[in-house]
């Protein structure tokens, strides 16, 4: 009797296993397919304008203004003219250097000021911490469209007008508040136990922070760097207000102001400027993102 029954369950079991394997594979396949499709949609959405900008960089003007042509490919031969104009007939290189100087300094100032402040708000209790914390946040409610007028008085009083130093001093006003808060958030999500464990081991608070908290919050610090850098690189209004000599301009101001002459937009060169700035920055951000995802705690979620 048992021999008659035994093979059936085995076969059934095998079949069941096979079916569940297939289901698993299908689920994996569906999951990957969905992932690819999802990513694909986002990539197209993000990149389609960038691709167009890229083509425009190398298009001749007549091609660009030709209503009958295909905007996504070259209808006339491609040309380096626009890039040449950007690199040789404008102060583009100088502008990039200015921007780099400004951004690096602003990020440094921001980190120096925001990391301690963020930690203080996250971990320490002291009188008025709530009020001050909110107060710092409130600076964002002050509209920049008007701030630049009184700020121009401040800049002039400091004799910084028409130099990049005016921007180095002003930009942290809008990077510090947010970065402080962001870091506060990241520090808060570091479990207290880890930090306390380090202190019990004999580290003073400072050492505990440096050895334990900061490394865990590295993703947060990287986000802050990215954010502060982006803000410093992309501002236009303050740059316009405080800097007029062409060789002191940061790149965003320079490109927009020198490549648009009222009627005439030098589209090819404008797009070239945008891409030459954006691509290295993207690569750098991507590099930072690697560190996010790999993470010190190996926190990649499977």
């Amino acid at each position: 009797m048992s021999t008659a029954v035994a093979p059936i369950p085995m076969a059934a079991a095998t079949a069941e296993v096979q079916r569940s394997h297939r289901r698993l594979r299908r689920r994996h396949f569906t999951a990957s397919a969905l992932t690819y499709i999802g990513i694909g949609i986002f990539v197209i959405f993000a990149v389609f304008p960038v691709y167009w900008m890229f083509i425009t960089t190398f298009k001749q003007n007549a091609d660009l203004y030709n209503l009958d042509g295909n905007p996504f490919w070259f209808n006339m031969p491609a040309t380096w003219d626009n890039v040449n104009l950007l690199l040789h007939k404008t102060n583009f290189i100088r502008w990039c250097i200015n921007t780099l100087e400004i951004a690096v300094l602003v990020v440094a100032i921001t980190l120096l000021v925001a990391i301690p402040a963020g930690y203080a708000f996250a971990r320490l209790r002291f009188r008025g911490s709530n009020t001050l914390g909110i107060g710092i946040f409130l600076t964002y409610l002050v509209p920049p469209t008007l701030l630049f007028l009184p700020l121009s008085r401040v800049v002039t009083a400091l004799h910084l007008q028409d130099t990049i130093w005016s921007l180095v001093v002003i930009y942290p006003t809008f990077t510090i508040p947010f970065c402080t808060w962001l870091l506060m958030g990241f520090f808060k999500s570091v479990p207290k136990e880890i930090e306390e464990a380090a202190r019990v081991d004999g580290c003073g608070r400072g050492l505990a922070v440096m050895r334990v908290v900061l490394p865990i919050s590295l993703p947060g610090i990287f986000s802050v760097v990215i954010f502060a850098f982006t803000l410093a690189m992309q501002d236009f209004v303050y740059a316009l207000t405080f800097i007029s000599p062409s060789d002191q301009k940061p790149v965003t101001l320079g490109v927009v102001s020198d490549l648009i002459r009222g009627d005439e937009f030098f589209w090819g060169s404008l797009m070239a400027g945008a891409l030459i700035v954006a691509i290295p920055v993207t690569i750098a951000y991507n590099f930072f993102l690697d560190h996010f995802v790999q993470g010190i705690t190996g926190g990649a979620i499977k």
Partner: protein, 313 residues
Amino acid sequence: MALAQELQIPIARTRRPLRHHLERESVLGYLLIAPAVLYILALVAYPFFLALWFSLSNATVGRPDAEFVGLDNFKWAIESDVFKTALKNTFIFTIVGELAKAVFGTILALLLVREFRGRRLARGLILVPWAIPIAIGSIAWKWMFDSTYSVINWVLVHAHLVAAPGPNWLGEIQWAMTSIILVNVWRGLPFTAIIVLAGLTSIPQEILDAAKVDGAGPWRRWNDVMVPVMAPVLFIAMLFSVVFTFTDMTVVYLLTKGGPGNLTHVLASFAFQTGILSAALGRGAAISLFLFPVMLGGALWLLNLLKRQELGV
């Protein structure tokens, strides 16, 4: 010292190390926040109070020392058609934009965390919109929306989705508003994704593993484990993103200058048009600061919410 205590020997004028004082939370706290607070005080408080003064006066650019007029400017604003439109638009653009960014940004982050071939490339490409300076990006979009040369219309027309010439993206009000929101989302999505990604990856793996061991499915894991841990970061990022969009002028101004017919203005761009271009500083300041009390109240309420949620968790 310990020995002296044990022996009950009175200790007079013992010098305590500086570090000891710094260990006190309050001193340390104040010291650590001092640079930030002082920086802000020096460079933001003064302009803010000046703007406040402007809003209560009839200052113009050519005559900034002017007379106090009380709440006249605010009264003007309430009665102004353009102001009402700008107010409405500010809320619409912000809410719709933020929702889109939050939802899609989270989806994107969840996708980016997975392993798949070409992940690095995808991540890089997706970041480009954020890296392109917004002023230049807006100008590029303006050209892509151009009523004669629009690339988007070219695609739509050639794909037979619309009849030629295609929507007038910047000339008709409904399309203009769509365009502005679109550019805002296009540009802001990578940032939201980065923040969520950073939040996701800072969740210690042990917690997640523990949840899995407890039998929590993906949705439970998300809701009950991941979101609470990421909450402070997400919340702050969202708050600031909202505030940024709320006070941003660039996209609107570069795409439509607030047109057509002053219909796509937001408060920030209308403030600029009034205060700087029309040189009516007092009224421009009033427009800018109009929502300040509201935003302040809203921010305080939200922050309280965060505090309570934290204590509850």
